[in-house]
């Protein structure tokens, strides 16, 4: 894991000073609320329905025990004892007082964390694949590049007052486990024919009112030109992106209105004019950062996994959990473990302070002091030895964290919705809870297998409903909550936007309708087909019928 040096620490400390000064100027009126708003947003402070919300960055999703314990401590001391992990691998605290925020930021700084640029019209926290450095299909570990981009984008003098927010994701494998194509800029690490390292550069992805899947802007940019291409792309956006209409201000709209080719021509012209030498990626810095992500001191795999095999034979709950919650690790003898934050009837992505503390303990004991946050709003222990799995499973069970539903129907992605959010039109959490209860039968879930269900409480689509295999969007019709269902979205390398199937359903009708959709899939699937495969083969009609069957 990356560790701060004196520069990183000093800059974070200086940012806290700066923010404290801004708060003081706001309180005595030297800053108007209008002027203060973008400044507090750039430090992660939102004003929500009932209180301020603080969004803390978890850069590219990486935590260790000390950081997780610090988050638990903040949840306990400044919040109501829990935090909410988001699809962009941040954590949100829903109840801090504004006066406490500088204290919280100081607590975070002590464990090398911050809330810098987690909101506002600037470059946000960089996200990546939760299996970075682990996945066998990886070209190169994307985390050092994420850290490099984190540093490059921090307090960027030119790109801090952009037309709108700007999100970047980096993946290191052809398989996209980070919804890279839903980002303003997406980067996929690739090698060219000569073996040189570089990136496929995608641009213009985004959710919200007008969802777009990112398009490929360049099929290969050499690694050393990364900052020059990012600068050129952001500069075209900063100069020409719309500022008159907040709904049309994202880069996706600029790309769509110019057309991809014209946009590319603009970026190439901007790139040509840039001085390349100062913007060249500093090699020594890349090497310095890479050293922090060296492989862990893994133990050699034993000839057979005695403890693992024994538990597999004797404990059906353990066996089911290993089937659903383990992810392969390229190191023989190890697995990555998804800790589902989706208990039956729970709030997706929420973890209590006690749970965070327990996971911190377990990370220390079983996973080289590493924990990650995933796109699916779960946690992940990246490096667990196979024979430690039975003990880990038992310990997770004691903490209420052994839900064996990772990647299944009840592994629902959801925004906080109208229970917290001032933008929302409808509640998300109760719908997610009802759905997870409805689908709680493990036999049914296992039969259905891999399916992605996403819920957003408004068209801003924080729950990524556009790219859910099944998307649920809360809308407000004359003061009543209704839910539109979309089908066929996908967040991966075959990314697609789901299509609305028809008129919205009242909240209580959502869970039964989704269950019917999944039953329709079971009745029609060919051997080996996942839900999304069957849906793509047959089209939406049979599922649409299932949704409205009862109506």
């Amino acid at each position: 894991m990356y560790r701060y040096d004196e520069f990183d620490s000093r800059l974070v400390a200086e940012r806290i000073e700066q923010f404290s000064d801004q708060v003081a100027r706001r309180l005595d009126g030297r800053l108007t609320e209008d002027q203060f708003k973008p400044l507090r947003l750039m430090n992660g402070v939102y004003l929500q329905l009932h209180a301020y919300m603080l969004r803390v960055a978890i850069p590219y999703g990486e935590l260790n025990a000390a950081r997780l314990r610090a988050l638990a401590d903040i949840a306990r001391r400044y919040d109501k004892g829990y935090g909410h992990f988001t699809t962009r691998t941040n954590i949100q605290f829903n109840w801090p007082a504004l006066v406490d925020v500088p204290h919280i930021l100081k607590d975070l700084a002590r464990v090398e964390m911050h809330a810098i640029q987690t909101s506002g019209n600037c470059i946000r926290n960089v996200t990546t694949d939760a299996l970075a450095g682990i996945a066998a299909d990886e070209v190169e570990d994307p985390r050092p590049w994420c850290e490099l981009i984190r540093q490059w984008s921090t307090f960027h003098p030119e790109f801090t007052f952009l037309p709108r927010k700007f999100k970047i994701a980096v993946i290191g494998a052809p398989k996209d486990r980070a919804a890279m194509r839903t980002h303003d800029i997406g980067l996929e690490i690739v090698r060219d024919d000569t073996g040189a390292l570089g990136f496929r550069l995608f641009v213009g992805g985004g959710q919200g009112r007008l969802p777009h899947i990112a398009s490929e802007l360049k099929s290969f940019i050499p690694a050393e030109e990364l900052f020059a291409w990012l600068t050129a792309t952001l500069r075209v956006y900063n100069r020409h992106g719309r500022r008159d209409n907040i709904h049309k201000a994202r880069i996706k709209i600029l790309v769509a209105s110019l057309g991809l080719d014209a946009f590319r021509a603009e970026v190439e012209e901007a790139f040509a004019a840039l001085p390349k030498a100062p913007l060249a990626v500093p090699e020594a810095e890349v090497e310095r950062i890479k050293a922090y992500f060296a492989p862990r001191p893994y133990a050699a795999a034993p000839p057979r996994f005695a403890a693992f095999d024994r538990a597999l034979m004797t404990d059906p709950a353990f066996a089911r959990w290993t089937r659903n919650n383990l992810r392969p690790h390229k190191q023989p003898g190890y697995a990555a473990v998804v800790i589902s934050l989706k208990p039956v009837g729970g709030v997706p992505g929420d973890a209590t302070a006690e749970q965070m503390d327990r996971v911190a303990d377990l990370a220390e004991r079983f996973s080289f002091d590493q924990v990650r946050v995933t796109y699916e709003q779960n946690l992940l222990l990246p490096h667990v030895a196979m024979d430690d799995l039975p003990e880990l499973h038992a310990a997770l069970g004691r903490a209420g964290l052994a839900e064996a539903n990772a990647g299944l129907a009840a592994d629902i992605i959801s925004c906080p919705g109208l229970d917290y959010c001032s933008l929302a039109n409808a509640r998300s959490i109760p719908v997610a809870q009802a759905l997870s209860e409805r689908l709680s039968d493990p036999v049914f879930q296992d039969a259905v297998g891999e399916v992605r269900i996403n819920i957003s409480g408004c068209i801003n689509a924080c729950g990524h409903h556009h790219v859910g295999h099944i998307g649920i969007l809360g809308v407000d019709k004359q003061g009543e909550e209704f839910y539109q269902i979309t089908l066929g979205g996908s967040p991966d390398e075959t990314a697609s936007i789901g299509q609305i199937v028809g008129k919205g359903l009242p909240g209580e009708a959502v869970a039964p309708a989704i269950e019917r959709v999944l039953k329709a899939y079971l009745a029609r699937r060919d051997a080996g087909e996942r839900f999304i495969d069957t849906l793509r083969r047959l089209g939406a009609d049979p599922f649409k019928e299932a949704i409205y069957e009862a109506a």
Binding site: S9, L31, P157
Partner: protein, 377 residues
């Protein structure tokens, strides 16, 4: 970047000269442009534009930053002045994007602007101000950092030296303590600022029992929350009879002190020690900061006298190591430590009778090897 008070009205007074009118004239002119203005025509006429005032139309409109950056990269050398709907928090960005001056809005506080301008002492990314990036500064050798620290803090009080180490290298600092005769002073200085800093104790298995008691007593008294006892690895193999100290004290120090300390090297870039010049020997010229094999060693007590140490013990009512009663003025492992008299160096009782003054944990490995070779010859 200069801060121009609102009354100076740089922008508004400018004649409205369009770029078209520059054609056919040789005059050097001043122009006013909105942040959205295209850069190319300005760059084409750059030789004859002595001053460009860029007006920001709203404090959330960042186009003027890119305009300035593009102009500077394109070779525009005239004066760039920012005006319009600006807030102090824009100041660092304006300066970095190549503005020479900012005209403050009516009613703005110069003081607020000045403070905002100095918000950050470093920047990661390159920009039009050509300031050395953090990346370039990181490349500067550690040696230069240590020299800079010594230049800045050579005569600073110990508490400031400790503070500099803790704040500039947070999370990377540990304290190395022998829990010996004077150890309480350094530990107290650190605990005053942060009792959670890891304290490394080399538990050689050869310590006096009172040292171990004293360790526990000080831990409790100072509220230290992270005292780590580092034990020798595979001592049974390398010292099966437990008498290596008798035949080869260097090898014993290596097994019980140097190697265990080296094993935690990756966790800490900075070690705070309690060494002092009054210890004599190799320590006579000890600076507050030194570089030992890529690790910064901080010696906050380097220039303390015996009297100062005594006074500090008294002022803070710190407990004494029980063996100091018996004339032990520097305390290591029992087989190699004896009392020393007042007319000797404090460390004279260490490896008494041997031509050995250091266990090796504070010296580069090459020095240790050379010392061993020298004594052998």
């Amino acid at each position: 970047m200069r801060l121009l008070e609102a009354g100076e009205r740089f922008g508004a007074d400018l004649p409205e000269i369009g770029l078209d009118e520059l054609a056919g004239s040789n005059a050097i002119v001043a122009l006013r442009a909105g942040g959205e203005t295209e850069a190319a025509p300005i760059l084409a006429a750059r030789e004859r534009i002595g001053r460009l005032v860029v007006a920001f139309s709203g404090f959330k409109d960042g186009r003027g930053f890119s305009l300035a950056a593009i102009l500077r990269e394109g070779g525009f050398q005239g004066e760039l002045i920012a005006t319009g709907d600006l807030i102090p928090d824009h100041a660092p960005m304006l300066a970095r994007c190549g503005f020479d001056a900012a005209e403050l809005p009516v009613g703005a506080s110069v003081e607020d602007w000045r403070r905002a301008l100095g918000s950050f002492s470093a920047a990661y990314q390159p920009a039009a101000d050509h300031a050395a990036t953090v990346w370039a500064r990181r490349g500067a050798p550690l040696k230069a950092q240590v020299e800079a620290l010594n230049a800045e803090l050579r005569d600073a009080p110990a508490s400031e030296i400790v503070q500099a180490a803790l704040t500039r290298f947070p999370g990377r600092v540990a304290v190395l303590s022998s829990f010996g005769a004077e150890a309480a002073v350094g530990l107290h200085l650190v605990a005053e600022q942060d009792a959670s800093v890891p304290v490394l104790f080399l538990d050689t298995d050869r310590h006096f029992i009172p040292t171990l008691d004293y360790r526990d007593q000080l831990t409790e008294r100072l509220g230290l929350t992270d005292v780590r006892s580092l034990r020798p690895v595979e001592a049974e193999t390398h010292d099966p009879k437990g008498d290596l100290w008798r035949s080869n004290p260097d090898a014993c120090c290596d097994l019980r002190k140097v190697k265990p300390l080296a094993s935690v090297r990756p966790d800490f870039d900075v070690l705070i020690t309690g060494r002092k010049r009054i210890h004599g020997g190799t320590r006579l010229r000890l600076p507050p900061f030194e570089l030992v094999e890529g690790q910064i060693r901080v010696n906050p007590l380097a220039n303390w006298s015996t009297d100062e140490i005594e006074a500090y013990f008294d002022a803070n009512t710190l407990p004494r190591h029980p063996l100091t009663q018996g004339g032990y003025r520097s305390i290591g492992c029992w087989p190699c430590t004896q009392p020393s008299s007042e007319d000797e160096d404090a460390r004279a009782g260490r490896w008494k009778g041997l031509d050995k003054t250091e266990c090796g944990i504070h010296m580069p490995s090459r020095w240790v090897a050379e010392e061993i070779a020298r004594r052998a010859s």
